[in-house]
Symmetry: C2
Subunit: 322 residues, 2 copies
């Protein structure tokens, strides 16, 4: 039997989204020690990018209601990373419809951020295209992240990809917002995205959610079919069912620059304690919304209420005809 | 985008191993109510087989040290299932080297069991072949389960499969004992097993462990490549990291005979309470032994001790050169 993946693909880059996607679990209220520990783990593990939060509009998301990583002001970033004297590149997400990007995205020479990822739903593609151009003009690497693609029609996806192909985005990411994809969906979408991306020199990425315990498997599947940018998070921290666990992904990849020991360290010292205060992971309600290809909001509500262990009731509610 | 698996394969059969593999977590000490609830859930969910335990040698495994499902005497079986007036077929596992099979395997007309699964390591293949013939002569369906295949050499695997091809076994199962397989290993082994199985009319099966959160994904992969017998367990109950979760598998399969609601019911009422008393699942130590392709015994020990949350220490011990 051939040893699996005994070689590696140098072009493959890993993005850690622990603090960014994890911030959706606790309104970004991480203490500085936690954020710094994840940053140091990423540096020591040889990870390529760390996404630290959002640059959300302060008129829509008040500063006193969220942690600093909802807005990622430069002062907050530098408090953790200084001038970021490392090979790790920093990233923030900017959401269409929720970001004052003309004002809040600074020229690159004023920022420690290197990458901006534009998140949007299919109907928001025109604003997304403007955001991509603006961020590129300001000097950043730019990623286009079409969310909830599993509920978009094939024609919509094609139209979005046609628009994205005309933008200066460096990366287009297959985003499994609802954790509903199986391997064949991943294959289909990665191949489709690559068709549009290849001619314009863009890379394709994968962002998986773990509703059906498939986040890691789907990330491998995306890699097999040519995705060169993959997201993961320490201990899978992320909204709802969480993301692809970094400790599994790094155990799989064969690039000798990656080190898994710093990841076990930050999980042991920081993620495990956090998991005793806030909840994420592939619990039954997330299995159900993933199977039904639905937004996890009903599952998040169910997990936080008194009926958190009433799985049959939850299943009945989501599958009732009335 | 084409809807995934909108049709189904009637030949695909599902085996529930909740009580059998789960018995390795608690020395088979389930109370009758638990076993009956799993049995009823299997019947109502339309599952094809339920594996209820072992027929272990009582001289090696004393009756007073284990629950009834270590030995599966007919009286114990009938106390739960009566004459089993259902379409669900019952199964027991018989281990090479640990079973007094000549004496303890009764003629089929004296048993409520329908299927016997012969578990063995590669060097035990000669006894396994005798056990397969004996069980077949006594009237059972028979499955051949080569364990720990990921540590066997390719030549050994081929030799075992050559022997199995000459036996009257109905099924040959790809067994990922250490939870170390990735999709490509599954593809390779399922195709190899099918080569030997097809000419003699045998089916190929898949038994996955969840060390790397890949049990469900690997089970799907096996199905894609032609496996028609797949194992799963309620809430993934099984030794160490556990098995492929039945609630995920049944959510994926499209055969209308399957029902998921009874599975949520038994998980809510019986598996969740059990999970508060005994532990299974893809905890960090199981990730590590899966990545290293090792038996989970060191991980099981680590999880039961005071250093259960010392992941770095565990990683260092397993990867030390001295």
């Amino acid at each position: 039997m051939t040893a699996p993946w005994i070689t590696y693909r140098p072009a493959l880059k890993v993005l850690d989204c622990t603090i960014r996607d994890g911030g959706l679990v606790n309104d970004h209220l991480f203490d500085d020690g936690f954020v710094r520990a994840v940053y140091m783990a990423c540096v020591e593990a040889g990870i390529d990018y760390m996404e630290i939060g959002y640059k959300a509009d302060k008129k829509m998301f008040a500063r006193d209601k969220f942690g600093a990583w909802k807005h990622c002001d430069e002062d907050d970033l530098r408090r953790i990373v200084g001038e970021n004297p490392s090979d790790l590149k920093l990233s923030a997400m900017i959401d269409a419809g929720k970001t004052d990007w003309r004002h809040d995205v600074l020229p690159k020479d004023q920022s420690v951020l290197s990458l901006l990822r534009v998140a949007f739903y299919a109907p928001q593609v025109s604003e997304a295209a403007d955001m991509i151009k603006d961020a590129k003009d300001k000097g950043y690497e730019v990623s286009a992240n079409l969310m909830a693609v599993t509920t978009a029609k094939e024609q919509e996806i094609d139209q979005v990809l046609e628009v994205l192909a005309t933008t200066p985005a460096d990366v287009i990411v297959v985003v499994d917002s609802y954790g509903s994809m199986y391997a064949e969906t991943v294959e289909l979408l990665v191949k489709k995205y690559l068709q549009y991306a290849k001619d314009t020199g863009k890379e394709v990425g994968m962002h998986a959610h773990n509703n059906q315990q498939l986040a890691f498997a789907n990330t491998i599947e995306a890699i097999i079919h040519g995705a060169n940018r993959v997201d993961a998070s320490m201990m899978g921290l992320g909204r709802g069912a969480g993301n692809c666990p970094m400790e599994l992904l790094i155990g799989f990849l064969r690039n000798p620059k990656f080190r898994i020991r710093p990841i076990w360290r930050v999980i042991q010292d920081h993620l495990l304690p956090l998991s005793q205060k806030v909840e994420w992971g592939p619990y039954p309600q997330y299995n159900v919304t993933g199977q039904l290809n639905e937004h996890p909001r009903t599952a998040i509500q169910a997990r936080s209420g008194e009926k958190r262990d009433c799985y049959v009731d939850f299943y009945d509610r989501l599958t009732s005809d009335v």
